[in-house]
């Protein structure tokens, strides 16, 4: 009896096959299946393969197709050519079958009643390595492999099972099924034809199985990108995306399509956004191409759906049983992110083999599909992360501290951070700049209202004159020394062309970028560009600066600008990694001492500039040193005392330098504690300070008054959980800054600080530096420390931190919409402009009474919660911010007011007239209250004050705008307002001497000393650190113990 084996036609689609083709043909010749015919379809090869086929398979049929329209179109040609066959074995031209493959596949097809049977695909060169044993798919069409790249075949997958996808290299298809389905979809020119056929087959009720007993070797030239594609085809990545989407749009029924399509849209949008932000243009283009290509073929899709609907025998709920849950592509991205870092995640699975091959002992390149296909091993994680972590030396180690001496400790086993691409940085900073511009648009166009610390600036000549003469108007005028800020600010005004409005905007709004710049410099030595970026972004996202602007606190804005620079100086003084000088403790002692002196002087100059603008600057510097020191002690234990001594010494030395540089003003404050008001601030009414929740959010004003603002603080906790080595140390020190600021603010609010009343907005600037620095360190730790750990709680914490930053930035982003950061539109300049019109000839003075937070300019304390100031001619200008250390004769005015409060006079006007005071202005809100237009923050004064003024028999209340009560003194002033007094020559002599000292110090700091230059030349000759050739070009980097080496080509570029 004859064997009645079903007839099988092996269809080999060939297109310019390489030298392996003969081996392929030979494998078909050696098949032990009796009823096998071979048909070679040549898809537009340049050279006719017929002689090659004839040489190995003389009985094979060869059909030449006119063009290469892709494997699918070519294989579909068999529909019109073959009749009577039971099965078709559809193959690429780079497969080699074991002799029993056809036999096993056909046998299994009948045994399992399968419509499509897939063999076990193994590597061409090493059959012990698995390629595919059937594949799975997620709901979006992304393919999920069942084996790991390079997995050795130990028989672990040898079992016949249902699969969703039979890979297209070699598959046995029932001929009737193939005909019923109409063959492959010819529009799928490459990558996805197998998925389309298998999905439609299952919808039609057929089973797709894998028969591992049939082994086929596959060269995979198509997936490797070595195969010529049909003319006009885009990249493999784009092809894969569009075909996946096409298959999803065709294969699902209407109900399930409505369910799945929004998810696919969402994931595509997310992938596109990530690709744009990370500069991955091919991926972004691929996503866009997928949607546009399918949209342009919607008629085709409708027809295909209709055709499939007619053949549907299985509901989608059954078909979905074999699909992988969730999104395989997203899962793969997250796993690559946590296991290998950002670069690997964005490079896609295509980069993984290169990474793995760089560390694997035998250099196997893996077998990921090209184009970023999301191939995930469902069995678990990829190659052990610890192995990667200890071997990886990817990227170039960058250290902003400059040359690295040999004895500087270098981490072993830590991975350095790859640089951030220029395009990514540009995009991010453009977005930040846009937000700041949008948030400040009204301020740039319309100017700033005159209120609190935002007052108009006099001409530069006036500023310089006041600096030179020492005369100042606040109070009853005098030569009582005050801050020398008028000098440098006058010079700045001169440089800016003398425009007062421009000067004000530059000085006020410029604090934001200066602060961000300072923080970027502070974070640079940690060697993580993304960490630096994250720290700067968090600093800009914290509400501190914007609340300062909204409340008119220019001193808090200056503190925001200066605090990171001060922190950076203190960090260098600590000599802790990564700020270490590398001079050790015993070597080059002279150099070390000179460096320390230079640090002290540099910090002192910075502190002096800070303090002359914000008198509390010196106290803030000492507070920052204390906070950093506390963190260092907790983090380092006994070994922390050395950096503590250095930082404390630097801060104290710098303060001494500040005292000298701010003479004679600083000397007057040493005359007694009652003169420290300018530095320590004015007391507020008990119970009116910010609560602890506002302090924790660093939001003591209208912006950030939301629980969302906690997000940024939460994000700053991350480095405490995941960072190691110096990153952990500095995270602790950053938190030392934060906690010390909070504690001082809180105790001030309780009234426990006895005369120390620095405004919370100023005190929170160091806390903002701490939070931002910690957030940046979290990012650096994520890049450099997390790879040593498997996926676990650390990664979850990282996600929470990222969410915290995103959520925490929302309040500031929302406030940007207003265009003026909640700053009132109209100030007291307009509300009090009429004062001079009604004043007597010869000039007049005004007495201002207000809560210290609402008082325009500076003042002295009348009582807790009330400050006073006396000004010439109405609203003070910005020079009124710096009052003298003592009110001098203006103290009599305060005494007169107290008399009225204690009911010891009903003729306050007569008393004030002796000081030429014609107006008494009681300010009770930050800016005038204009119903329906602006509702500024309220700072009421005690009722005893307003009642006392209202009951005076010689003060007439003037009806005016809410927010400020103005009283006109009915008693005529004694005489013309006092003329300018001339300061003494002693005062001028001291002042000019200090100016000379300033100039000398600035010049000295700007020019490196000879000894430093000599030391650098000596080091470069000794081979420590990188060096420069005589031509100025850096020579090739030489490997040094513990130092970073250049990255392998292709990673991090």
């Amino acid at each position: 009896m004859e064997d009645l084996a079903p007839a099988v036609v092996a269809v080999i689609v060939a297109c310019d096959p390489g030298p392996w083709f003969e081996e392929t043909l030979q494998s078909f010749a050696l098949q032990d299946y009796p009823e096998l015919a071979v048909l070679v379809l040549d898809a537009g090869s340049a050279e006719d393969p017929t002689p090659r086929v004839a040489a190995v398979l003389p009985n094979a049929f060869v059909r030449r197709l006119p063009e290469n329209a892709g494997f699918a179109a070519a294989a579909d040609a068999v529909l019109g050519m073959v009749a009577g066959a039971s099965h078709l074995l559809l193959c690429h031209d780079d497969v080699a079958l074991d002799p029993n493959v056809v036999h096993v596949l056909v046998e299994e097809s009948f045994r399992s009643n399968a419509g499509i049977v897939s063999p076990k695909l193994v590597a061409w060169d090493d059959p012990s390595r698995l390629l595919h044993v059937g594949m799975a798919v997620d709901k979006g069409g992304a393919v999920v492999d069942r084996v790991e790249p390079g997995e050795i075949d130990h028989g672990q997958h040898d079992g016949v099972r249902d699969v969703f996808l039979a890979p297209g290299g070699c598959m046995l298809v029932r001929a009737d099924l193939f005909a019923e389905l109409g063959g492959f979809d010819p529009a799928v020119v490459a990558l996805g034809d197998d998925l389309d056929l298998c999905w439609r087959a299952q919808v039609a009720g057929a089973r797709v199985i894998v028969a591992p007993a049939a082994r086929v070797r596959h060269l995979e030239r198509l997936a490797a990108g070595d195969r010529p594609l049909p003319g006009g085809a885009p990249s493999l990545q784009a092809l894969q995306r569009r075909h996946e989407l096409r298959i999803v749009l065709v294969a699902y029924s209407t109900f399930h399509l409505l369910r799945v399509l929004p998810q696919v849209v969402f994931l595509s949008a997310g992938e596109f956004a990530v690709a744009v932000l990370t500069g991955n243009r091919p991926r972004a283009r691929g996503v866009l191409h997928a949607w546009s290509w399918n949209w342009s073929r919607r008629k085709e899709l409708r027809a295909a759906r209709a055709a499939l609907r007619e053949r549907r025998r299985l509901p989608d709920s059954e078909v979905r049983r074999l699909q992988v849950r969730g999104s395989a592509r997203l899962t793969a991205y997250v796993r690559r992110l946590f296991a290998h870092g950002l670069e690997a995640a964005h490079a896609g699975a295509a980069a993984l083999p290169a990474l793995i091959s760089a560390t694997a002992p035998d250099g196997d390149e893996g077998s990921e599909a090209a184009g970023g296909a999301a191939l995930v091993n469902p069995a678990g994680a990829l190659a052990p992360a610890t192995a990667l972590g200890t071997r990886r030396r990817s990227g170039v180690v960058r250290n902003g501290a400059g040359p690295q001496p040999a004895e500087a400790p270098v981490e072993s086993g830590a991975a350095a951070s790859p640089p951030l691409s220029l395009s990514a940085r540009t995009v991010v900073w453009a977005a930040v700049g846009l937000v700041l511009l949008i948030g400040s648009r009204q301020l740039l166009g319309n100017g700033l209202p005159s209120m609190a610390g935002l007052l108009s600036w006099p001409a530069w000549t006036t500023l310089l004159h006041r600096f030179g003469t020492g005369w100042h108007a606040p109070g009853l005028g005098g030569v009582n020394p005050t801050s020398p800020a008028t000098g440098p600010l006058g010079l700045l005004a001169l440089v800016l062309g003398g425009s007062s409005g421009l000067v004000q905007k530059v000085i006020v709004l410029g604090c934001l970028p200066v602060g961000a710049w300072g923080l970027a410099r502070l974070a640079r030595p940690f060697g993580s560009p993304r960490g630096r970026l994250a720290a700067t972004l968090v600093y800009l996202a914290l509400p501190v600066a914007y609340d300062a602007l909204a409340l008119g606190r220019w001193d808090a804005l200056v503190a925001y600008a200066a605090a990171p620079w001060v922190a950076a100086r203190l960090a260098r003084a600590s000599d802790l990694e990564p700020f270490a000088s590398g001079y050790g403790s015993d070597r080059a002692g002279r150099l070390r001492r000179r460096r320390l002196l230079r640090q002290v002087i540099g910090l002192g100059v910075l502190e002096a500039v800070f303090t002359m603008l914000v008198p509390a600057g010196a106290a803030l510097t000492l507070l920052m040193a204390a906070g950093l020191s506390a963190g260092a002690l907790v983090a380092l234990g006994p070994t922390g005392w050395r950096p503590v001594r250095r930082m404390t010494g630097a801060a104290l030395g710098a303060t001494a330098v500040t005292v000298v540089l701010l003479a004679p003003w600083s000397f007057t404050m040493l005359a007694g504690s009652q003169r420290w008001q300018a530095v320590t601030g004015l007391a507020l009414l008990p119970g009116t300070g910010p609560g602890w929740s506002s302090l924790l959010r660093l939001a003591v004003g209208p912006i950030g008054d939301s629980p969302l603002a906690y997000g940024l603080v939460v994000a700053a906790v991350l480095p405490l959980l995941v960072a190691v080595r110096h990153r952990l140390t500095w995270a602790a020190m950053a938190w030392g800054l934060v906690l010390s600021s909070w504690l001082v603010c809180w105790t001030e609010g309780k009234g426990w600080t006895a005369g120390f009343n620095i405004t919370p907005l100023v005190l929170l600037a160091p806390a903002a530096v701490g939070v931002a620095l910690a957030a940046g360190l979290g990012m650096a730790a994520f890049e450099q420390d997390l790879s040593a750990h498997r996926f676990g709680w650390r990664q979850v914490a990282t996600v929470l931190a990222a969410a915290g930053v995103t959520v925490g930035a929302l309040p500031v982003l929302a406030a940007a919409g207003g265009g003026r950061w909640d700053l009132p539109t109209s100030g007291y300049g307009e509300a009090t402009a009429w004062l001079s019109g009604r004043a007597p000839a010869g000039g007049f003075r005004a007495l201002w009474l207000a809560d210290p937070r609402a008082l325009p300019g500076g003042g002295w304390q009348l009582e807790p919660g009330v400050a006073y100031a006396v000004t010439d001619g109405g609203l003070p200008d910005s020079t009124g911010l710096w009052v003298g250390s003592h009110p001098a004769s203006a103290a009599t005015v305060a005494d007169d007011v107290r008399l009225a409060q204690r009911h010891r006079t009903v003729q306050l006007g007569q008393l004030l007239a002796a000081s030429d005071i014609h107006y008494v202005v009681v300010v009770q809100s930050l800016a005038p209250i204009i119903p329906g237009y602006q509702s500024p923050a309220l700072f009421p004064v005690p009722a005893t004050l307003t009642d006392a003024l209202s009951t005076q028999s010689d003060l007439t209340a003037v009806p005016g705008q809410s927010g400020a009560a103005i009283y006109v003194n009915e008693v005529k002033a004694a005489g013309p307002v006092g003329a300018n007094l001339e300061s003494s020559w002693t005062y001028r002599g001291v002042l000019y001497g200090v100016v000379v000292v300033w100039l000398l110090l600035v010049v000295r700091l700007a020019r490196p000393p000879t000894v430093w230059a000599r030391a650098r030349r000596r080091r470069s000759r000794g081979g420590r650190g990188t060096s420069r050739s005589r031509a100025g070009r850096p020579p090739a980097a030489r490997p040094r113990a513990g130092a970073g080496i250049d990255a392998p080509a292709g990673v991090g570029r």
Binding site: G687, G749, D947
Partner: protein, 474 residues
């Protein structure tokens, strides 16, 4: 545990401990208590003798012609100036005067609100009117205010009630006048809304014109702008039951009011009107101090913006014919401060004395030092009563002023111990010339005082109201 882990744990523990400690401390200690609200001083307070200037504003004289009585307890003569301007007139009458040390001087004035100014302090001023119904004297106000409350007035049975409002300051004022009655509801006559007052101007509103036949009216004067002085002048016609009273108002409702001396004479009547101008109900405890001790307190509930009348005659616990002190105080609930009230007394005799009826305001609690003026000219003092308003015993001294300065306790009136609610009575005598000369009452706790001018009229029909002192004058 690796070294890194140890460090990390130490850092986290330290941070959590610090934060927890702060949060716990914040919760335990609570938010910083805001500065306690300082209640406005009473409307008539004698300024410190060392004050640079002081002034008194006498609005009642706009409603009735009379005089200002200037009491100078000090040891040096005091000179002052009176400026008087009649209601609706721009003519100003100015008089300079001198008050000898330790004496009271009367400065007669035509009808018109007056401002009495001094170049110093330590001087008290009364406004006094004399008529057929007798003499009434009441302290002028030492301060202006944007609110004035009067617990009682009447337009029933021909009683004439006038509200005099005076703007002594250079700032123009606009005022509203409204009323509340024990039957509930607020009466807001349109004619009394938005009354303008130029600097120095006064206005006298005859309440009968717009709110007739009201047995008891509580009055509220609100200055929408500016700051004013207000007084109610009530005049009962007819012999036998006539009387005139200046009722000085309260600038703010307070939690405690006291009347040191009262007596239910046969045929007479004592009633107290409790006015609650706030928006919360008031529960008022009425404490009675009898000669034989404290009687069981009464409780009166007064609805918001309403008044309640307590007839002492109807109280069986008050024996007839016996003097008693009475104190009205409100209590605070757990989460609210005590609402304030204003209390007035209507005292009438059996018609055999003149005046037969008088209305007076209570004395606010919380004052421990008083300056008691002599009785008005033509009257004789009946006696001084001092009641302890504290919840503990206090020691009271009644001091006379020496010609060469200083105050010394009167014989038998030095550090007299008073139990809570008890009344100390001091009769005038050559050794204790209360009512003849100004005296200072000083205690180490809050007390209220009352000087009655005539032994013929029941206590309270025409009391001489003392002035609170901010500081000792002696």
């Amino acid at each position: 545990m690796t070294r890194e882990t140890t460090r990390r744990v130490a850092l986290l523990v330290a941070g959590v401990l610090v934060l927890t400690a702060v949060l716990v401390a914040d919760a335990v200690i609570g938010p910083s208590a805001p500065a306690p609200a300082v209640p406005p001083p009473p409307s008539a307070v004698v300024a410190d003798a060392a004050a640079s200037s002081s002034a008194w504003y006498c609005a009642g004289l706009a409603a009735a012609s009379g005089a200002v009585l200037v009491t100078n307890p000090g040891r040096v003569p005091v000179t002052g100036t009176v400026r008087s301007q009649a209601a609706g007139s721009t003519a100003v009458v100015t008089k300079d005067f001198a008050a000898p040390p330790g004496q009271q001087v009367a400065v007669d004035l035509p009808q018109g609100a007056a401002t009495v100014s001094f170049g110093g302090g330590g001087v008290g001023v009364l406004e006094a009117a004399v008529g057929n119904a007798g003499v009434t004297a009441s302290p002028c106000a030492s301060t202006t205010s944007d609110t004035w409350y009067f617990a009682h007035g009447s337009t029933a049975q021909g009683v004439g009630m006038a509200v005099a409002v005076f703007n002594p300051l250079p700032t123009p004022a606009v005022v509203d006048i409204s009323f509340a009655s024990p039957s509930g509801g607020t009466i807001v006559p349109p004619a009394y809304q938005g009354i303008p007052l130029a600097p120095g101007q006064s206005v006298v509103e005859n309440v009968m014109d717009h709110v007739p036949n009201a047995a008891s009216l509580a009055t509220q004067v609100i200055a929408l702008s500016g700051s004013v002085v207000a007084t109610v002048f009530e005049q009962s016609p007819g012999p036998g039951h006539g009387g005139a009273s200046f009722l000085d108002g309260a600038t703010a409702p307070r939690s405690t009011w006291a009347f040191a001396q009262n007596e239910d004479v046969a045929g007479g009547m004592n009633s107290f009107v409790v006015y609650n101008p706030t928006s919360t109900p008031a529960t008022v405890t009425v404490a009675l101090s009898l000669t034989q001790g404290q009687a069981a307190p009464l409780v009166v509930r007064v609805a918001p913006q309403s008044a309640s009348v307590l007839n002492a005659d109807a109280q069986t616990r008050i024996p007839a014919g016996a003097p008693y002190g009475i104190t009205f105080s409100t209590s605070s609930s757990s989460n609210r401060s005590a609402p304030g009230i204003v209390v007035a007394r209507i005292a009438s005799s059996n018609g055999s004395s003149t005046p037969a009826v008088g209305v007076s305001s209570g004395q606010a609690g919380g004052i421990s030092r008083w300056l008691v003026p002599p009785v008005p000219p033509g009257q004789s003092p009946a006696g001084l009563a001092v009641i302890d308003l504290a919840r503990r015993p206090v020691r009271v001294s009644v001091k006379g002023f020496r010609p060469n300065g200083g105050a010394v306790p009167l014989p038998g009136a030095n550090a007299v111990r008073l139990l809570p609610g008890a009344v100390y009575a001091l009769s005038p005598s050559p050794a204790t010339p209360v009512g003849w000369s100004p005296v200072e009452v000083e205690a180490d706790g809050p007390v209220a005082v009352q000087l009655d001018p005539s032994p013929d009229s029941p206590p309270g029909t025409a009391p001489v109201v003392a002035w609170p002192l901010l500081a000792a004058l002696g």
